[in-house]
């Protein structure tokens, strides 16, 4: 008996009419397909440059539409903004998770009222602990304004996928220069490192499974704060 791999590949060959391939399970041999040229007439980039006011305005519009919270923040005000968002999350001392490679300046405003838990691939926090923290703070790799999408690629300032997933509040810092207009611009940027684990986030988690009525906040973070810096 041939192994499954050989047999499936031989069936595929038969289906495409390649010589010496036997038949498919239904006993068929297909005709050879024609050569295909893929037309790439779609937009490879938008009309606005990355980080331009038009692109930022569109990103904000889309994110708000998804019920995410968005603020444009000056670099100098970022620590205070992060602190204000996180502090209010707990009656007692709020706990925030941060990946090991995050800009320490972003955490500088937190003070004693907030406990910071560092997470890294070398010393990962267990999922049950992540479930108990109040928020997570991460950077991002790229954002796409037309679709309101932010992409994380697991680098040290964004951390393991689990940390931006289990906590109920995600505070994500996006630099304005990282905001491109179209999906192709974002994908080509990500294509430099396709092997990195990627998480595309477009608003907080949501479901439309009940009468196609959209409900924001299911298993992923129910609240998404996007801080646009730059």
């Amino acid at each position: 008996m041939t192994d499954a791999r050989t047999e499936v590949l031989s069936r595929v060959g038969a289906a495409l009419g390649r010589p010496g391939s036997g038949t498919t399970p239904a006993g068929k041999v297909g005709a050879a397909p024609r050569d295909v040229v893929v037309p790439r007439g779609y937009r490879a980039a938008g009309e606005h440059v990355a980080g331009s006011p038009e692109v930022l305005e569109q990103l904000v519009d889309r994110l708000v539409d998804y019920k995410a919270h968005v603020q444009q923040v000056a670099e100098a005000d970022l620590p205070a903004t992060v602190a204000r968002l996180v502090r209010g999350l707990s009656a007692g001392r709020a706990v925030v998770v941060a990946p090991h490679g995050i800009d320490p300046g972003w955490l500088a405003g937190l003070g004693d009222e907030v406990a910071v838990r560092e997470d890294s691939p070398a010393s990962p926090l267990p999922a049950t602990e992540l479930d108990a923290v109040d928020a997570v703070l991460t950077a991002a790799r790229v954002a796409c304004s037309e679709t309101g999408t932010i992409v994380l690629d697991g680098q040290p300032d964004q951390g393991r996928r689990a940390i931006s997933l289990v906590p109920d509040v995600h505070v994500c810092v996006v630099r304005t220069a990282q905001v491109v207009q179209t999906v192709p611009e974002a994908v080509r940027l990500l294509g430099a490192h396709p092997e990195r684990p990627l998480t595309w986030i477009s608003g907080p988690s949501a479901t439309s499974d009940i009468e196609l009525d959209r409900v924001e906040g299911v298993h992923g973070p129910r609240t998404l704060h996007v801080l646009l810096v730059g």
């Binding site: 068929k28 192709p184 396709p194 998480t199 009468e211 409900v215 992923g220 973070p221």
Partner: protein
């Protein structure tokens, strides 16, 4: 007719379905069925005409579906309209998928190479049984008696949950709609929204009766229902050792896999357990990473009518320190090579499972997904299901329930218009119908169609005979009801009226009418 909870018609078991599960008989007083799960997820229940007739009598189902499909059609239309290069994206998507099919052997091997190079294990499965066995063995090896699942059509198609259950492993569906279907012991009725046939009140009742930990004062507000599901599944996510998923795309040139979702249950399953098993049909490839720029624009807008779905996960093999430490990819044939062998029908494999064709289909909207007797309902199901089951008679198989599916369409063409990868579903339907007719012609000793045509030709070749035949036809006028249609005709016309109405012939022929109109007043001139 015995009816189960909430008026869902019970699936009638077919001889080849095997014994229904214990308790299936006389269980109509049980709250949710059970609706026995078919042994063949691509061939269950009655043939479409009979099944559709039954589901059409369910007013609640029609109301639920009518509302849901109307909402989703409007959302899709709005977000598609704002994309200036939508048609160019469709052209690219269509050509990319055609290229994938043409180069499938090379692309599959490239995907395998890249997944393996990044620490993944690739398995090949000829059919459902082999795929189920592979997943079971992996779960066993991990000592898991429970696996969490991301919504996946491929695992629906192979009946993985039922197989795992028989092996003592509980498969927990974590997508909200799949959870609803699973708790109700029901079958999915839509590719994207499997519980589209249920309304909020029905879902509340299902949760209260079956979830176990649903709050007793649960209301039917969608937000509350979603929160109940979140609480119910949280513990499962945090403790699961093995997850099973499907894949929306597999990138051959990099070995990257993609799962597109909304709720975060996918991310939970793909990230938290130590072991991840992904079951993917061999047709779900794209050649290069950059090709995702096409499909990630086409899919979300076509399926949920969103500019982008809330979450998309892409992973390549194993990433040390981030996510599962063990990754298995099961490449599934299960009839796909039979589809690929068909020059016309192979385009059905281009499908990216967006379900836009279901939402616009006037037939689907009225009969619902269960009438199709397959996990793939609607227009795409009508061309995919018969072809996937070709080796067991699905295409033009005499008496095979799936051979009726190509007729489950009005050929209005709406499905082709919305398809993001431009699958010409109407043409494939017509092709499959033609094959059914051809097969019937060669099968029967006497071809009633040919005999009728020969008789008609004899009648029509002579004016006298034609007039006589016309007068004879008016005798059937009395068979028509007050609405002027014949619903039940005597044989051989009963072959027609079994599944459709026949307009009653008028009380007089055109010749009779003409003669009558012109006979009075007669002039002496005419008398001559």
């Amino acid at each position: 007719m015995s009816r189960t909870f909430l008026g869902l018609p019970r699936r009638l078991s077919r001889p080849d379905d095997g014994a229904p599960p214990a308790g299936a008989d006389g269980s109509s007083e049980q709250p949710f069925g059970p609706v026995p799960h078919p042994q063949a997820p691509l061939r269950w229940g009655d043939a479409f005409p009979v099944a559709a007739h039954r589901t059409l009598q369910d007013a609640q189902l029609r109301r639920n579906l009518g509302h849901a499909t109307q909402v989703i059609r409007a959302k899709r239309a709005a977000v598609v309209d704002e994309v200036p290069d939508w048609e160019a994206l469709r052209d690219a998507g269509s050509a990319l998928k055609e290229r994938v099919m043409a180069e499938l052997p090379e692309l599959l091997q490239r995907l395998e190479e890249n997944v393996t190079a990044r620490g993944g294990v690739v398995h090949w499965a000829r059919d459902a049984a082999e795929a189920n066995r592979i997943v079971t063995e992996i779960a066993r090896a991990k000592g898991a008696d429970e696996v969490v699942k991301v919504k996946s059509m491929a695992t629906q198609e192979i009946g993985l949950n039922e197989h795992l259950a028989a092996e003592g492993i509980a498969a927990i569906e974590t997508d909200l709609a799949e959870l609803i279907v699973q708790l109700a012991d029901d079958m999915p009725s839509h590719i994207l929204v499997p519980a589209i046939h249920r309304n909020r009140t029905e879902i509340r009742d299902i949760f209260l009766a079956r979830m176990g930990d649903a709050p007793p004062d649960l209301s039917d507000v969608p937000r509350e229902l979603a929160m109940a599901a979140r609480a119910h599944l949280r513990r499962k996510f945090l403790s699961a050792k093995v997850a099973v998923s499907g894949a929306n795309f597999g990138v051959a040139s990099t070995g990257t896999l993609a799962v597109v979702e909304s709720e975060g249950n996918g991310r939970m399953c793909l990230t938290l357990p130590e072991t991840l098993v992904t079951v993917m049909g061999i047709e779900k490839l794209v050649p290069d990473f950059e090709d995702l720029e096409v499909f990630m624009q086409l899919l979300p807008r076509s399926s949920t009518g969103e500019r982008m779905n809330p979450y998309t996960s892409l992973w390549t093999g194993v990433t040390p320190g981030d996510g599962p430490s063990e990754f298995h990819l099961v490449l599934l044939d299960n009839g796909r090579t039979d589809v690929l062998a068909d020059e016309v029908g192979r385009a059905a494999l281009h499908c990216i499972r967006c379900s836009a064709c279901l939402n616009v289909c006037p037939v689907y909207e009225r009969v619902g997904g269960h009438a199709y007797g397959s996990v793939y309902p609607g227009p795409i199901g009508a061309i995919l299901t018969p072809q996937l089951t070709a080796s067991t008679g699905g295409v033009s198989g005499h008496g095979d329930v799936n051979a009726a599916l190509p007729y489950a369409s009005t050929l209005c063409g709406a499905c082709y218009e919305v398809c993001p990868v431009k699958i010409d579903i109407p043409s494939i339907l017509v092709d499959l119908r033609a094959r059914e007719v051809d097969a019937d012609r060669s099968r029967n000793g006497v071809d009633p169609w040919a005999a009728a045509m020969k008789a008609a030709s004899w009648v029509m070749s002579d004016g006298g005979r034609f007039g006589l035949a016309g007068r004879a036809a008016t005798l059937a006028h009395g068979l028509g009801g007050r609405d002027g249609v014949i619903s039940v005709a005597p044989p051989p016309a009963s072959a027609w009226t079994r599944t459709r109405d026949l307009p009653a012939p008028p009380s007089q022929t055109f010749r009779q009418w003409w003669a009558k109109e012109h006979e009075t007043p007669r002039t002496p001139e005419e008398e001559r």
